[in-house]
């Protein structure tokens, strides 16, 4: 794995092309440029290893979530919000063959030349255009014989395999956030190009009649053939008035179905022993995820992670937090220990280039169990959060 710089004289055009042609509408975060000046190049062997590990992880996750859905007595330790637990009981009609299951596992290279994962984005992973169009733009800009995996192609094909042609897909997101819309717009345009009717609405623009999703969005009223949800479940539960209950038992194909909640919580590892006692193998997860404990069992060398954390926020990596932020996290952990886990800290191996060191978070997608491409971010700090830069991932062919 290496970083290859975008030539300085080409970077400005590359950035503008990424904005206009690759749905990168958020190229700045405070003072940080969120589009890397590098391309992440994987060797083919590394790519194959990641495909293997990702698909093994996914197999374990899918088996675990199906088991948990049929054995809800075991989910107590996940400490899911009460509002969600009530609805989860309705998911008994879940049939994985009717829905599209999308996940992204976040890999990190470590100093002992191995991989660790920090989480699975089980519920609403993002970064779609960055994993589809940006690598192609990078290859064109570099003019090299690299290739990339087109996540958008794989995802759109999976959707079209399960949804009738010309069907209506609602892309459910937080409509006030342009950074959510850019993700939805990319895949919506992709589905439109395949003949689907893509509509964009909020979670409460769907109602459910006889378990069928119906759009009440002004000017787009009617039956919906697929729900593509980008509003996280833990936000969904706070929407008033409560119209979101139907997401849990809908017969309308969904990506993702709320079954995603079991692996989304960072407390998922706390019930692995129960899963293993019931013959659900968690070997790959155990190999790749650092040891995870209840907060009360915190040891030296561990960090706190919020159970419902996103984009690396509120993780207590001391050297990556301001003192104020660190103390705020610790205070919250003490107040709400069940909202966190303690996880053994791994040492990320940065890549050195241009007298700087960059830490990598390499997200590896699965769509219906198959590896489906990469979304990566880099940062000079070991915590990859909103300040990190998106970086396209390409693959270098083996020399013959």
């Amino acid at each position: 794995m290496k970083l290859v710089p975008i030539p300085e004289e080409k970077y400005n055009n590359y950035r503008v092309d990424a904005i206009f042609d690759c749905y990168k509408w958020d190229p700045k975060f405070v003072d940080n440029n969120t589009l890397a000046k590098y391309v992440l190049v994987l060797k083919e062997d590394e790519y194959k290893e990641l495909v293997y590990l990702t698909e093994k992880l996914d197999l374990e996750t899918v088996k675990a979530e199906e088991f948990l859905n049929n054995n809800l007595k075991y989910i107590k330790k996940l400490c899911l919000p009460n509002k969600l637990v009530k609805e989860i009981k309705k998911m008994q009609n879940y049939d994985k063959n009717k829905h599209i299951r999308l996940m992204r596992y976040d890999f990190h290279p470590t100093i002992d030349n191995s991989w660790q994962i920090s989480e699975v984005n089980s519920d609403v992973p993002g970064g779609f255009a960055e994993a589809s169009l940006l690598p192609k733009l990078a290859i064109k800009t570099l003019n090299k014989d690299y290739y990339s995996i087109d996540f958008g192609e794989i995802l759109s094909k999976a959707i079209s395999n399960k949804i009738k042609k010309n069907g209506t897909i609602m892309f459910v997101h937080c409509t006030s956030y342009s950074d959510d819309r850019q993700v939805m717009q990319y895949i919506g345009d992709k589905m439109k190009s395949l003949g689907y009717n893509s509509i964009y609405g909020a979670a409460d623009h769907l109602i459910f009649k006889d378990k069928q999703a119906i759009s009440i969005l002004n000017n787009y009223e009617g039956k919906v053939d697929c729900i593509f949800r980008f509003t996280p479940l833990e936000w969904l539960k706070d929407i008033k008035p409560k119209k979101w209950s139907g997401y849990f038992d809908t017969i309308t194909p969904s990506c993702n179905h709320p079954i995603a909640i079991f692996a989304q919580t960072k407390r998922f590892p706390l019930i692995w022993n129960i899963l293993e006692q019931n013959d659900i193998e968690m070997t790959t997860w155990k190999k790749l995820l650092p040891d995870t404990k209840e907060v009360k069992d915190f040891k030296e060398g561990y960090i706190y992670k919020p159970a419902c954390g996103r984009v690396g926020e509120n993780i207590s990596i001391k050297e990556a937090c301001s003192k104020e932020e660190y103390l705020k996290i610790i205070k919250d952990v003490k107040k709400h220990p069940k909202n966190y886990v303690a996880q053994k800290k791994f040492t990320s191996k940065p890549i050195k280039i241009d007298n700087k060191e960059y830490h990598i978070c390499l997200g590896s997608y699965t769509v219906d169990g198959k590896q489906a491409g990469f979304y990566a971010r880099i940062s000079e700090l070991p915590r990859i959060d909103s300040y990190a830069a998106d970086i396209p991932v390409v693959i270098e062919r083996n020399k013959k």
Binding site: K28, V30, T175, A202, H205, N218, N219, S386
Partner: protein, 210 residues
């Protein structure tokens, strides 16, 4: 001009502050919005010349915000649109984010050359906070400005800016939160409603959940 070319007029390469221009309204820019718009450049009552060491945030309705930005550009400022609202397509919506689009096209032609040492004027639309829904089918494309949409206090101070002038009818809640943090980092906050003289104000901490 293409959308990219219009964007690049507002965000030219290698000019300080240009990377803060938010691309969102430029992506599907439509210069043929059916609104009557008076393109007259307004007279600035509160400022005759560039205020040293001072950045400006204009938070009035989007159309006037762009026009005032252009007026300030004529005396040496760099107007930076940070509009971030999305389109509702054909659904009825809470906010008309498209009304600014012909102004961005017009402004691209009006903008004078931007010097690298020009002080920034960040342009906001106060209508972003219109989120009242008369019907549950309405598309809520209201939006907030967040700390990540603006430079950090450290960046301002390192670039010689220790004052921020807010030109608005009032300090809106989302902006209040950002200004409060700037104030904590020793940046002075000034205010004008556009007619009254500029005065220093103290920003109070308010609890704000969008």
């Amino acid at each position: 001009m293409t959308n990219k070319e219009i964007y690049l007029k507002w965000a030219p390469y290698n000019i300080k502050w240009s990377s803060w221009v938010r691309p969102v309204p430029f992506i599907y820019l439509d210069s043929n919005v059916n609104e009557f718009i008076d393109y007259k450049i307004p007279h600035i009552n509160y400022l005759k010349e560039v205020l040293p060491n001072t950045a400006i945030i204009i938070d009035i309705n989007g159309v006037d915000s762009i026009k005032e930005g252009i007026a300030l550009n004529k005396i040496g400022y760099y107007p930076i649109p940070i509009f971030n609202g999305t389109s509702s397509n054909k659904a009825m919506s809470t906010t008309n984010n498209k009304v600014i689009e012909p102004l961005l096209v017009w402004g691209a032609f009006e903008l004078k050359e931007i010097k690298d040492d020009a002080l920034p004027v960040f342009l906001l639309d106060e209508n972003r906070l219109n989120r009242y829904k008369t019907d549950c089918g309405i598309f809520d494309n209201s939006w907030d400005v967040y700390y990540q949409d603006l430079p950090s206090s450290k960046y301002f101070l390192n670039n010689g800016i220790d004052k921020i002038l807010v030109r608005a009818n009032k300090i809106n809640k989302d902006l209040n939160k950002i200004l409060y943090d700037y104030q904590k980092e020793n940046i002075k906050i000034l205010f004008t409603n556009g007619f009254e003289p500029i005065k220093e104000i103290k920003i109070k901490k308010i609890k704000y959940i969008n």
